[in-house]
């Protein structure tokens, strides 16, 4: 079973992109990150939920109370956008620096370099995964009706994980050569945040601009998360397909980056 998956990854991506031969290594690195994050922290995991909830409340106050946005279930709506976004932006900015940060290790031990951005994505995703119940609970309290459509959320979260890994791992390689990226990415993520349907959805933007949503690699993913988790109206299928297309583009770019630029990278570090 696993050898089949391994072979499939090798054919599709040209290298062991998901570290299937290095599961024990990935497990230990993720385990280390999580342990370090919560060691000696009294509230521990609570903080990872508290921060996005606070941010959501601030935005709720700004958009709902002050600017009077008319959208049902607006608090869980914002949270369902803010949580995956903080995963996405944090993964990308951490992953970008991950190869350079582990330079000491990479130049001394034979280790596949993409393990580091991969581990960043997995670590952040596991915290996201455990905070999903909060969105669900808040949605229920707010009166969202549970429906089988909610299962689509897992699909969109999966797409987001793959996309964050591809983007992060590609940037990590470029960051070795170009240290400006750190600043550029911070800025780009700010713009990207507002270009993504997090505080709004497609029903709030004029129909003639809807196509822009599909040009945003994560546009459909966030639209899809909102739709599936909060039972909003509209067709889910276009977003399912658009997400798939962007994930495919992301993974193929990952393939090109790593098969072309990987050799000789350690020497430059």
């Amino acid at each position: 079973m696993f050898s089949f998956t391994n072979r499939l990854t090798l054919i599709a991506l040209g290298f062991d992109a998901f570290c299937l031969n290095k599961k024990f290594l990935v497990f230990n690195l993720v385990n280390r990150n999580l342990k370090i994050k919560y060691r000696r922290s009294f509230f521990g995991y609570f903080w990872t939920i508290l921060a996005p909830v606070m941010i959501s409340m601030i935005y709720y106050f700004v958009f709902k109370v002050v600017m009077n946005v008319n959208r049902p279930h607006y608090l869980p709506f914002i949270l369902a956008g803010v949580l995956p976004w903080s995963f996405f932006s944090q993964s990308i900015s951490e992953a970008t620096e991950s190869i350079v940060a582990n330079q000491a290790l990479i130049s001394k031990i034979p280790i596949p370099i993409h393990v580091f951005p991969y581990v960043v994505s997995i670590t952040n995703f596991s915290t996201l995964f455990f905070s999903l119940p909060v969105i669900f609970i808040l949605g229920m309290v707010s009166g969202v009706q549970p429906s089988p459509n909610m299962l689509w959320a897992f699909y969109f979260f999966g797409c987001l994980l793959l996309l964050s890994y591809s983007v992060g791992a590609i940037l990590a390689v470029f960051y070795v050569y170009l240290r400006d990226l750190r600043h550029a990415i911070g800025l780009a993520l700010q713009v990207w945040l507002y270009a993504t349907p997090i505080f709004y959805d497609s029903s709030m933007i004029p129909p003639k601009y809807h196509w822009i949503l599909f040009l945003n690699p994560v546009g459909s993913i966030f639209e899809g998360i909102h739709m599936s988790m909060l039972g909003s109206e509209g067709a889910l299928i276009p977003h399912v397909l658009a997400s798939l297309a962007w994930v495919t583009i992301g993974l193929l770019s990952l393939r090109v980056t790593y098969t072309r630029l990987r050799s000789g990278l350690v020497e430059v570090l």
């Binding site: 290594l25 690195l29 034979p110 280790i111 000789g264």
Partner: protein, 247 residues
């Protein structure tokens, strides 16, 4: 005929320093105004046409002065660098003792670090669990194994790192002068352990500029000088050649 565990064929390694040209706009502009923008490649050869084979059970000493290309060779053999020309073929897992305790995290316990370090060295869960008790025993850490390693002395850290690297079941061991660390009694213990592994059939590659350890332990010696292999044969002769070149 015995097949070699490592065969190095006409190995060439070059570093391209043009990759380290100005990487920021500021330095680009200052260089540009000085007229020193260089895009010509600045290639530096570190190893030139090196060939040799290592057979199972060998205890090889690779000697050479600073800058002779020892460490580069080591990194090529362990697969960290890719060769510019020629080829390296290896059979079996290589345990690189280039750095002891690679990836150790100060806020984790000794035990947690064993798993972390072993997986970074490329070993799986089963191999690590099998070796666990002998690793802990050899490290002489006792109950300290459950403490965070930031509270360890440097001697304890070295003991743990060495213990992990040598107790995992790797047929080839690459040793890079790590033996120079730790106190005298532990150094002796390390040498004994490495000789014991050699007797058990492992292949040992020792990179050093200490003539004594090569003369005492190795059955073969390779001397590198100025990017090339200048000697491959008995340790006695190799060491005297190396020493005559020193003066």
């Amino acid at each position: 005929m015995i097949e070699p565990v490592i065969s190095v064929d006409h190995l060439v390694k070059e570093f391209n320093f043009s990759a380290e040209r100005p990487t920021s706009l500021k330095s680009f502009l200052t260089n540009f105004s000085k007229g020193t923008v260089r895009y010509k490649s600045d290639v530096f050869r570190v190893l030139d046409d090196v060939s040799f084979a290592i057979y199972p059970g060998d205890f090889i000493g690779i000697m050479g002065r600073n800058g002779a290309g020892k460490s580069t060779l080591l990194k090529l053999i362990s697969g960290i660098y890719t060769p510019t020309g020629g080829s390296i073929r290896t059979r079996g897992v290589i345990a690189p003792l280039i750095e002891l305790g690679a990836g150790f995290h100060p806020e984790l316990t000794g035990l947690e670090n064993i798993f972390l370090n072993a997986s970074i060295l490329g070993f799986g869960r089963e191999a690590t669990e099998q070796a666990l008790s002998s690793i802990i025993e050899f490290s002489e850490l006792g109950d300290h194994i459950h403490r965070m390693i930031k509270n360890y002395s440097s001697g304890m850290l070295v003991r743990l790192g060495f213990s992990i690297a040598t107790h995992l079941d790797a047929p080839i061991l690459l040793v890079d002068e790590v033996l120079a660390v730790g106190d005298l009694s532990f150094q002796r213990k390390c040498i004994t352990k490495i000789k014991e592994l050699h007797r058990a059939g492992r292949t040992i590659i020792l990179i050093t500029h200490d003539s004594n350890s090569v003369r005492e332990h190795c059955n073969r010696c390779i001397v590198l000088e100025n990017k090339k292999k200048i000697f491959d044969g008995l340790p006695k002769e190799g060491v005297s050649l190396y020493e005559s070149r020193q003066s």
